[in-house]
């Protein structure tokens, strides 16, 4: 026993010594701690700044190329971190006083990091962007990230299947259900959906509630009240979800679909076995690769009343500057360059279908989006959980609870109440 104790002591001492070595800055080899932040004077006074994002480098290629010419004295090093690990890794690094110089932020993480003082105030630069883009990155009156190009999810549909079977495009939710019934009647799956994931029902149901309630006068302030803990889903959303649940009772969404992935659902759609598929511009390339001859267009979601339709979406990841960055000036220069029409065009070029929030810049829409042009023109793109502040992450729980509802494990009131519990917990943090 004595031996063990002395041994452990010895070992712990060694740990202490080693750790001490590391924390005295002089003993660490210069620059080894600060990953990519060392300026290398040898290669022509270029300063390197690290930028992290959860989208692949291809979606940023043109912007990065543009930055290289627009900000010649700064080298932007792009680091991709996949979506599932992004928040964990960035939070860990920021908490240690390190982290990327330029951070691409989702709405809820931007607010969190702003509150903790990790981010630089970029209000001045943000004035070049519309309020619709800035709103979700605003904390206590200041803007902490420049909005990226927009994302949206609508319903891709196979035009040929509609015309061949003389089926009219729907203009309301009830018409939509009727359309689905017609397809079912002729042996075509109306809507391909990968319900193994929690995402499809989240977006589909929220689009309906957006059209029916959240954008109506009585529901306009819901998001703000919700994040302040003044209201709950259970008790306010029930009637709308009740109506929406026709998607399940009418057999558009089935329990068997929990065995299907997003990818497999897409294959059902591209091969003509299914008439519709809910997704966004990010899947366009993959859809066309699987079937280049597909006659493709997109339609929006509808409420019970005729309208221009609604889509789920909002500003993509916002560009923020790390307040602890050793190259803050260089990072700000890069952000200045991003807030120009040229940079925004470059960004849109790699994200077709998305549009910029820069005031006065209209980049137009490629084909395939004819059916949602009026929707976009009307500004009917909305992401409910972007308004939930610190509880934004609960949107995943919302989707999971809806899976349980689909499988008949609980009723609508329980489903909504369970989400409320998670939101409350997150807000109390």
């Amino acid at each position: 026993m004595k031996k063990l104790v002395s041994l452990l002591l010895g070992a712990t001492l060694m740990v202490g010594v080693l750790a001490a070595c590391g924390s005295t800055p002089s003993s660490a080899p210069a620059g080894s701690t600060a990953s990519a932040k060392t300026s290398t004077p040898a290669s022509g006074d270029k300063v390197t700044v690290r930028m992290t994002y959860w989208n692949s480098e291809e979606t940023m290629a043109d912007l990065l190329a543009y930055l290289e010419t627009a900000v010649p004295d700064v080298k932007v090093e792009y680091q991709f971190i996949d979506n599932t690990n992004y928040a964990t890794i960035v939070d860990t690094q920021l908490a240690a006083g390190e982290g990327p110089d330029i951070i691409v932020e989702a709405a809820n993480s931007a607010l969190k990091h702003a509150r903790l003082g990790y981010l630089e105030d970029v209000t001045v630069l943000s004035e070049k962007f519309s309020d619709a883009g800035n709103a979700i990155f605003t904390y206590e009156g200041s803007v902490y990230a420049l909005p990226g190009v927009s994302w949206f999810e609508g319903i891709w549909y196979n035009k040929d299947l509609f015309t061949e079977n003389n089926i009219e495009l729907p203009k309301t939710f009830d018409e939509y259900i009727a359309v689905c019934k017609k397809f079912e009647g002729i042996g075509i799956k109306p809507l391909a959906a990968g319900l193994k994931s929690w995402e499809p029902m989240l977006k589909n149901s929220m689009a309906f509630v957006t059209a029916e309630y959240l954008t109506a006068p009585e529901g306009k302030g819901f998001g703000e009240k919700y994040r302040n803990g003044e209201t709950a889903l259970n008790g306010t959303w029930n009637t709308y979800i009740e109506k929406w649940s026709e998607m399940i009772t009418e057999g558009v969404y089935t329990q068997d679909m929990t065995g299907i992935d997003h990818e497999q659902a897409m294959e059902e759609f591209t091969s003509g076995k299914a008439a519709m598929f809910c997704s966004g511009p990010w899947d366009l390339e993959a859809i066309l690769a699987k079937n280049p001859d597909l006659n493709l267009d997109m339609m929006p979601f509808y409420g019970t009343q005729p309208s221009d339709g609604w889509m789920i979406g909002g500003p993509g990841g916002g560009f923020a500057v790390n307040a602890n960055s050793k190259e803050k000036e260089a990072a700000m220069k890069v952000l200045e360059a991003i807030a120009t029409p040229e940079a925004q065009k470059a960004l849109v070029a790699n994200n077709e279908g998305g549009s910029s929030y820069l005031v006065g810049l209209d980049t137009g829409l490629p084909q395939y989006y004819n059916g949602v042009e009026t929707t976009i023109k009307a500004g009917n793109i909305f992401c409910p959980w972007d308004e939930w502040g610190a509880a934004g992450g609960a949107h995943q729980d919302y989707g999971v609870e809806f899976q349980k509802y689909l499988m008949g494990e609980q009723d609508i009131a329980t489903t909504l109440a369970n989400v409320d519990v998670v939101v409350e917990e997150l807000l109390a943090k």
Binding site: L7, W198, G259, D261, Q264, A265, E268, Q403, K404, M407
Partner: protein, 299 residues
């Protein structure tokens, strides 16, 4: 074989320390020290919203863990997973090793085939089996069923999703168990077999009387690493079902990673980890004891 095995306590003298120290130092710094921090955090109010002003909050986090609603389901799923996985790995892997230890012409190729799945990361295996078990018409199994005129089977329903994940893992890791068993079989002297053959022991009898007792070390390794690893299962669940549909495949680790890391409740996550550590430690100590008794009994 009388029990005259002599052990010399501390025969290695100073070399005991010398031999163990390099491993111990690395292990203490990069494995135990982080755990000590975690233990410390589990009594504080550390969250992603509050990373610096830590206060002690006693056992609050531990109480929270027990009040997490899906905890019971997660623990049950982890236990089912660990026991089924370990059982199948042993029950399939051991005979497989014995058969592929025989003088079969194709045994090298077959060993490679059975081991092959183990080289893939959970990401690939998740994709692959999601496709095979998909309830869309393209799902390999359902496609076959449709061609036979049968209805669709949903492998990812609330009742069977966990077992579907298990099937993919049995496919992936049986070969791994086989390799460990093979290493053990290789070290069994062949003359023992010959002696048994002269005694007139047949195949099955020989397996139980001669092979199995000598396989104790490898069985012990496969069972203990299997149970402990099974309790900690995370990667494959993540790539195949993400704990869904609903909460059908939530395990202790998926709940812990989501609550404790993704959602930023770091200190609750830490308490979660400490409890989990104690539970798994207890189970594995118990199993080690049982296994020790078993190998004593058969030798």
């Amino acid at each position: 074989m009388k029990k005259t095995r002599k052990f010399y306590p501390g025969t290695l003298g100073k070399y005991f320390l010398l031999f163990i120290l390099p491993a111990l130092v690395i292990y203490l710094i990069f494995s135990i020290l982080p755990f000590v921090f975690t233990f410390f955090y589990s009594f504080t109010n550390y969250t992603d919203m509050n990373p610096t002003n830590l206060n002690f909050v006693g056992f609050t986090n531990y109480i929270k863990v027990f009040n997490t609603p899906i905890m019971r389901k997660a623990i049950l799923n982890s236990v089912i997973y660990a026991f089924v996985m370990t059982g199948m790995q042993t029950l399939l892997g051991l005979p497989l090793a014995v058969i592929l230890d025989k003088k079969l012409k194709t045994r090298n190729v077959m060993r490679a085939v059975f081991f092959f799945p183990a080289v893939f990361s959970a990401l690939i295996v998740g994709y692959l089996w999601s496709y095979i078990m998909s309830s869309s018409d393209y799902g390999l199994i359902n496609n076959l069923l449709h061609q036979l005129g049968l209805g669709t089977v949903n492998f990812f329903g609330p009742k069977n999703a966990l077992f579907s994940v298990l099937i993919s893992q049995i496919w992936q890791w049986t070969g791994w168990g086989m390799v460990i068993f093979l290493a053990n079989l290789q070290s069994i002297p062949k003359d023992l077999y010959e002696a048994a053959e002269i005694d007139g022991a047949g195949g099955l009898k020989r397996f139980f009387k001669v092979t199995l007792p000598l396989m104790a070390p490898s069985v012990k390794i496969v069972v203990i690493t299997g149970l402990v690893g099974g309790m900690k299962v995370f990667d494959i669940i993540y790539s195949m079902t993400k704990g869904g549909p609903g909460d059908a495949t939530e395990t202790v680790m998926t709940v812990m990673m989501r609550q404790g890391v993704s959602k930023g409740f770091y200190s609750t996550g830490a308490a979660f980890g400490v409890i989990f550590f104690i539970v798994v430690m207890l189970i594995s100590t118990l199993i080690t004891k049982l296994m020790g008794k078993w190998s004593e009994a058969i030798s």
